[in-house]
Amino acid sequence: MALNEQTVRHVAHLARLDLSDDEVHAMTRELDAIVGYVEQLQEVDTTGVEAVANVAGLVNITRSDEPIEMLSHEQVLRNAPKANGEAFLVPKAVER
């Protein structure tokens, strides 16, 4: 199936990438070529084949529910582009 610009713009929105028109044009061409290459998987008969989840054969790794030392508030906020010492700051998301 050929990838069109409408699909690319939809996927860019899902991925939260504000692509320029030039990028959308280039991406449509490049992704179409890659997806075309990936299409060869359809020729493999996978009837009854389980989709592998973990190649090391691990299942349900659990740990005891005990508090451990974590990063401090100050350490977590140190890398924030905008913070007020207590929280990350973002533009207002809800109108009141």
């Binding site: 890659i34 359809q42 493999v44 996978t46 190649v55 090391a56 350490q75 890398n79 582009p81 207002k92």
Partner: protein, 470 residues
């Protein structure tokens, strides 16, 4: 200036344990890193390295013996070293300082190794030529107009170029083995789960594995014995004892070495000849050659670019312009904070893979692409299981060609992806694999050969490599 190509990790550790100064060793490595002309080194940690070297000297003076005493090491720029910057060579992490530390880094430092610098890499480890880094490309230390391979290009160039005897890299589809091959050093991708991934900036979590670049097999085994082991902070790390240091002699005597005839098709002739020489050497070392086939290996690149990009699109969703890293100016609403910060912060290849990964996981396409790819991945795992009933190790080329010229493949992403055609299957199956230097081509460019072994047969893999390099 001393050239560390003549001084491996074992020799440095032995000298420092016997009273030689770690500080002098680290000072010399810092000088080499500061004089680097290949752009392998993007950040030198002079002050903290000298402080750490002095601490190693003090520990030795107090009577400790350390397996990597005074060994200078560079870290690929996707591993957290506490209170030091880490960027994955992406603008989106400009200014980020690691608030915690990767388990692999802690283990190296506890063993006496000294981190002297961060190494260049493809942005978020996405690339096969180290041309997608926001710090610019790395030159192959053997030929400056050629690429060092990727994504751990800086790590490979540091070791092959004699800056440090040890570098850490990460390998998601060949990112340790392919650059090791193209630069001419040894690169090991351990069994998936052998080394903790805690503190490694995630790319494809079911494929990622940390491993060493070294100049000798013994060093690779020594470093693996330090790095390996269960880590409570990484629930996918294997709960089993770490491999032992040291490499057995006669690693190929009485062993069955598998080779795949299809691997020779389309191979650069010098690489094909090196493979023939290695096969002859294996026989001389007492091995029996066995022709094997991996019928689904030809689908590995297609499977990989669905699985790895799907996982990457999810892993990289955390870079949102809110919690850390680059934040766009003047966004009107929260959605613009996300979409513009990401648009401005990520480079072209990273965006391409996020887009591909988002597409294959999106409603209506998941079964056709992601589920299908994971089923074919199961078949690739089964192929290996069948082969390892017939042979103990698999020998083949690491890369179809020697190092290509800068810019040669940047305009065609698919051609670039196909440079990893021989290395990707090992990540999909979680098996250990390494690249050993095996001479040079007619232009003097290094050739590497690829060895693969069953899961957790890392020790046997290293012993086979030693026999081939003898």
């Amino acid at each position: 200036m001393t050239d560390c190509r003549k001084t491996d990790c074992q020799s440095i550790a032995a000298a420092v344990n016997a009273g030689a100064s770690a500080t002098v060793e680290v000072e010399a490595a810092l000088a080499r890193a500061e004089a680097d002309s290949t752009n392998a080194i993007i950040r030198v940690y002079r002050d903290t390295a000298l402080a750490a070297a002095k601490a190693v000297d003090a520990r030795i003076a107090a009577g400790e013996q350390l397996p990597l005493a005074g060994v200078p090491v560079v870290l690929k720029d996707n591993m957290c070293y506490q209170d030091h910057p880490v960027t994955a060579c992406s603008k989106i992490l400009a200014g980020f300082t690691a608030p915690y530390q990767a388990t692999a880094v802690t283990k190296l430092r506890d063993a006496g190794a000294v981190v002297i610098a961060a190494a260049n890499m493809d942005e978020f480890a996405m690339g096969s030529s180290n041309e997608t880094s926001c710090y610019g490309p790395v030159s192959n230390p053997v030929a400056s107009d050629r690429i060092p391979g990727g994504s751990s290009g800086g790590s490979a160039a540091s070791v092959a170029g004699g800056i440090t005897p040890l570098a850490l890299g990460s390998d998601t589809g060949g990112s340790i083995r392919q650059p090791a091959s193209l630069c001419g050093c040894l690169g090991l991708k351990p069994t998936y789960g052998c080394v903790s991934r805690y503190g490694l900036l995630a790319f494809g979590s079911s494929l990622d594995q940390i491993g060493p670049f070294t100049t000798t097999v013994e060093d690779a085994a020594l470093v693996l014995s330090v790095l390996a082991g269960h880590d409570k902070a990484d629930s996918t790390s294997a709960n089993r004892p770490a491999p032992k240091p040291g490499v057995a002699d006669q690693g190929l005597a009485g062993k069955r070495v598998g080779w795949v005839p299809a691997h020779v098709e389309g191979l650069q002739s010098d690489v094909a000849e090196a493979l023939e020489r290695a096969k002859a050497k294996a026989v001389e070392a007492g091995a029996e050659l066995v022709e094997i086939s991996l019928p689904h290996e030809k689908y590995a690149v297609a499977v990989y670019y669905v699985v790895a990009t799907g996982e990457a699109s999810s892993n990289l969703s955390r870079y949102d312009g809110v919690h850390y890293g680059h934040r766009t100016e003047g966004a009107k609403d929260l959605d613009q904070v996300y979409s513009r910060s990401r648009e401005e912060g990520f480079g072209a290849e990273v965006k391409r893979r996020i887009m591909l990964g988002t597409y294959v996981l999106s409603a209506g396409y998941y079964d056709a692409y992601y589920k299908k790819a994971m089923q074919v991945r199961s078949l690739i795992c089964k192929d290996f299981a069948t082969c390892f009933e017939q042979c103990d190790v698999i020998l083949g080329p690491t890369s179809p060609t020697t190092a290509f010229k800068r810019g040669e493949k940047t305009s065609d992403p698919l051609q670039m992806y196909l440079s990893d055609v021989f290395t990707i299957a090992a990540n999909l199956a979680g098996i250990p694999a390494l690249s050993v230097p095996m001479g040079t081509d007619s232009q003097g460019l290094p050739i590497g050969l690829h060895l693969q072994a069953p899961q957790f047969a890392d020790e046997a893999l290293l012993a086979a490599a030693k026999a081939l390099m003898a």
